[in-house]
Amino acid sequence: MNQVTGVELIKACSAIGAGLAVIAGIGPGVGQGIAAGYAASAVGRNPGAQGAIRSTMLLGQAVAETTGLYGLLVAILLLFVQPLAR
């Protein structure tokens, strides 16, 4: 077994960190699901306002998605740019 160098260790830990960072996806998943559920019940109560409800839902979901995307961004940076292993 060869000795593990510092850079290799950092790269391996970056991969683990990237995996941990995308756990942030849980939050937006739950939030978007809740938003879609309420939108569905709103359409059930008032089918005439479907267009407005859909656009409001999409806007809210996109805003809620941002936190998850920050996690994804951190993961992509750790995996492909590897700022720590330089």
């Binding site: 996109a62 941002t66 994804l72 992509i76 492909f80």
Partner: protein, 241 residues
């Protein structure tokens, strides 16, 4: 293990430099982003010129046909979108700007289908657009609310809240640009991973993923960018105007 590492090195979705030049001792690059931006701009320009030539030939009584009627539908939809979120008074002023960034971002996002690297997957493209939005927000804030209203908004619940309000003002362009950038980049990265790591099995079915990541996600993010821009500007203008 060796082949794994080899396959991973083929993953390629980063910006590449194509041509280096020097300005005032600074080394600058023409990158793939510039090339894709140029192609997107050319497509939009040619489309605009063709439509302009066709429109100028139409007489007032004629029935619109083909390209003209398609453009009428596009313009009507965009006008409706701006009208519904900005109100009767303001929408004339902003419909042009919103229509322009809508067309630009949409074409940029779906340019992945043309084999280009989407320009919006480069933070250097999305951040300036968010900066434009930021300037528009604050220009209109000062124009309609005057300095008094701006200071009143800054000290919203109490004057001690002002630093937090300033931070949230500056968070707007960052989150706006990062949202668009990260969405497009994640689509690009996932498609690059699929093509590099599953290159033997990637036959036909990636088309469905292209549909989702490029068309659906791209269109949604375009819509969201425009809607948020309009919402922020409407908030800055204030309700009484």
């Amino acid at each position: 293990m060796g082949s794994y590492a080899l396959a991973a090195t083929n993953v390629d979705f980063m910006v590449h430099g194509l041509f280096q030049y020097e300005v005032f001792g600074q080394k600058l690059w023409i990158t793939t982003t510039h090339v894709s931006l140029l192609i997107v701009m050319l497509i939009l320009l040619v489309f605009g010129i063709v439509v302009k030539v066709k429109v100028s030939k139409v007489k007032p009584g004629d029935n619109p046909t083909g390209l003209i009627s398609a453009c009428e539908i596009i313009v009507e939809k965009l006008d409706d979108m701006v009208l519904s979120s900005m109100g009767e008074k303001q929408y004339r002023k902003f419909a042009n700007y919103i229509g322009t960034i809508f067309g630009f971002i949409l074409l940029s996002n779906i340019s992945g289908l043309l084999g280009l690297r989407p320009p919006t997957a480069d933070y250097g493209v999305t951040f300036p657009m968010a900066i434009i939005t930021f300037c528009l927000i604050h220009f209109n804030h000062f124009k309609y609310q005057k300095v008094k209203g701006v200071i009143a908004d800054l000290c919203d619940p109490w004057p001690i809240w002002a630093p937090i309000n300033i931070i949230s003002d500056f968070a707007v362009p960052v989150s706006l640009s990062l949202r668009l950038f990260a969405n497009v980049l994640s689509g690009t990265a996932i498609m690059a991973l699929i093509y590099a790591l599953l290159s033997k099995f990637a036959i036909l079915w990636p088309a469905a993923l292209h549909f989702y990541f490029d068309l659906f996600s791209g269109a949604i993010q375009t819509y969201v960018f425009c809607m948020l821009t309009m919402t922020y500007i409407t908030n800055a203008i204030g309700e009484e105007n």
